[in-house]
């Protein structure tokens, strides 16, 4: 599979570069190597300050690594002349939906990205309609964003990124400020984008249940990758995850404490396993 986003032994620090007298540098991200291929669905887990948001910002040239290199489809993020091209390929959705909507009408906000790319009006119209339909917000295209619910706003923000037709979408804790209903809406939308349009997704979260639906989970701790693998494998390490301040999905925890065989992630898997063991 074609590689879209690649981190190659990346180091990044928020400290001032001149602060060498302070001794050791505090790396927000260190020795990070990671590859996102077309059609990947990756969840990144970690508690606050583990470097997961830094990872997001490094991926589309908002932050430039101090050491190592981040490449998007072969373009290094250090190449300032091609920053726009990078951001066209890797779209980013942030935490607070209010702070990423620019226009006073939904469809005009979605058009913001394509307009910046300098596309023809007819092409923009088509992309806006497609993007709004993909996130299920087409009927709301003429609404004012402040009248929408949190989940709806976040879907508009996702549509705004989709309209630029990126190949990878990075969601930086995009569900953190939403109520359960809004979270479900956003999750379903993201899942659909991945399944139907083959978009690569990097989903940064601190909800274990959300991470469980990814194809691959990366757990970060103090700027380093602690675990990297399929969710069912990663969540076997209950004690280690607890130590870094994370939980495992409740179903997995229950199954493990009951000593059930197999790697269990979801509620239905757990009930099936319990029923089997009782037979």
């Amino acid at each position: 599979m074609e590689s879209i986003l690649k981190f190659d032994d990346v180091y990044f620090s928020y400290d001032e570069e001149t602060d060498e007298t302070q001794g050791e540098v505090h790396w927000a991200v260190s020795a990070l190597s990671l590859e996102v291929k077309r059609g990947d669905f990756i969840a990144v887990l970690g508690h606050n300050g583990s470097g997961k948001s830094t990872l997001a910002k490094l991926s589309n040239a908002i932050l430039i690594p101090d050491k190592g290199e981040v490449t998007v489809k072969g373009i290094s993020t250090k190449d300032e002349d091609r920053t726009l091209e990078i951001r066209k390929h890797v779209g980013m959705v942030f935490q607070n939906p209010d702070n990423q909507i620019v226009a006073t009408v939904v469809e005009e906000d979605v058009a913001f990205g394509p307009e910046n790319l300098g596309l023809e009006p007819a092409e923009i119209r088509e992309r806006v309609d497609d993007a709004l339909k993909a996130v299920g917000m087409y009927e709301f295209r003429e609404n004012e964003p402040h009248n929408l619910s949190g989940g709806q706003k976040q879907r508009v923000a996702i549509a705004g990124i989709l309209a630029m037709r990126p190949e990878c979408i990075v969601l930086d804790e995009s569900t953190a400020m939403l109520d359960p209903k809004g979270r479900r809406e956003v999750l379903e939308t993201v899942r659909k984008l991945h399944d139907e349009f083959g978009m690569a997704v990097v989903f940064i979260t601190h909800y274990m249940d959300e991470a469980a639906m990814a194809d691959r989970v990366i757990v970060m701790e103090q700027g380093k990758v602690l675990f990297d693998g399929a969710p069912c494998d990663v969540f076997q390490n209950v004690d280690e995850l607890r130590r870094v301040g994370l939980d495992v999905p409740q179903a997995t925890e229950l199954a493990l404490s009951l000593g059930l065989p197999g790697k269990i992630l979801t509620l239905s898997e757990c009930t099936d396993a319990i029923v089997d063991s009782l037979k």
Partner: protein, 271 residues
């Protein structure tokens, strides 16, 4: 209470006035206001009022809503009228009592000023009632876009206006949230004299400012992520096109202008 304050109150609709190009509406409103001040007698002024009534009727905005727009400036109108009555000393004297001198010229000027200010306010309200804030900012941006040397400036200004309009409701919500949070901690915002109440607002305004800065910072990131890089190479989804309606609007104001010039010439100047 703060939610009642609406800037650029838009009255959604699909009337001929609503469907006109915002650029044309902007220009015609300015032309109309200029002509209002060029009227020299009641006939000319009457013609302008008549055309305003026609435009209001065409817009489909309820008369009550339109008249409401005059209410906030009632005090200004009264003051202007009173000052004009007492200070303009042309024409026949009507009243001469101690230091008070009222003349026909003064009364006419006062009446003229009242009508002019009302017409001005109604005309500009009609613009904001029938044109959404976004359309107005877009209209301004595109009207000035032929001036290449200031295009970047105009675009930046229009973008700032759009973002400001976008964030008004968000900040109002935020203001109410903070107010409630401070009230829950025992802040007293409603009693005391004006100075005390203004001082009590400080614990509300400081957090509001800080969160606004944080919002601005995040919004800038989000805009950069969506490839925003100023006016250069930027296109728009909605193209503005002049239609037949705009031609009619233009002719309407043109005839009104012609009418005013003619009436000014044929009838005696009052002011």
């Amino acid at each position: 209470m703060i939610k009642d304050i609406t800037i650029g109150q838009y009255f959604p609709g699909n009337s001929v006035i609503h469907r006109m190009d915002p650029r044309m509406k902007l220009v015609l409103t300015i032309v109309y206001i200029v002509i209002i001040f060029l009227c020299k007698n009641f006939w000319a002024l009457g013609l302008m009022l008549l055309s305003l009534v026609v435009m209001c009727a065409l817009s489909g905005v309820p008369a009550k809503v339109i008249l409401k727009s005059i209410k906030p400036i009632a005090i200004i109108i009264t003051f202007t009228a009173i000052l004009n009555i007492f200070y303009v000393r042309t024409g026949e004297p009507l009243l001469d009592w101690h230091f008070i001198h009222i003349t026909t010229g003064g009364v006419f000027t006062a009446v003229f000023m009242i009508i002019r200010i009302c017409a001005l306010v109604v005309a500009s309200s009609l613009l904001t009632y029938t044109t959404s804030p976004t359309q107005i900012t877009d209209g301004i941006e595109r009207l000035f876009s032929p001036l290449k040397f200031m295009r970047g400036g105009v675009h930046t200004l229009a973008m700032m206006m759009t973002i400001a309009l976008r964030f008004i409701p968000t900040l109002i919500d935020e203001f109410e949230k903070i107010t409630n949070a401070q009230k829950a901690r025992g802040a007293d915002l409603e009693t005391g004299n004006l100075v005390e109440r203004a001082k009590a607002l400080i614990p509300v305004l400081v957090p509001l400012f800080i969160t606004s800065f944080r919002r601005a910072y995040e919004l800038a990131f989000a805009m950069e992520c969506r490839c925003y890089h100023g006016a250069e190479g930027r296109t728009r989804m909605k193209i503005m096109k002049y239609s037949k309606l705009d031609a009619f609007g233009f002719l309407f104001i043109l005839f009104a202008t012609g009418g005013v010039i003619a009436l000014n010439m044929f009838f005696r100047h009052v002011v």
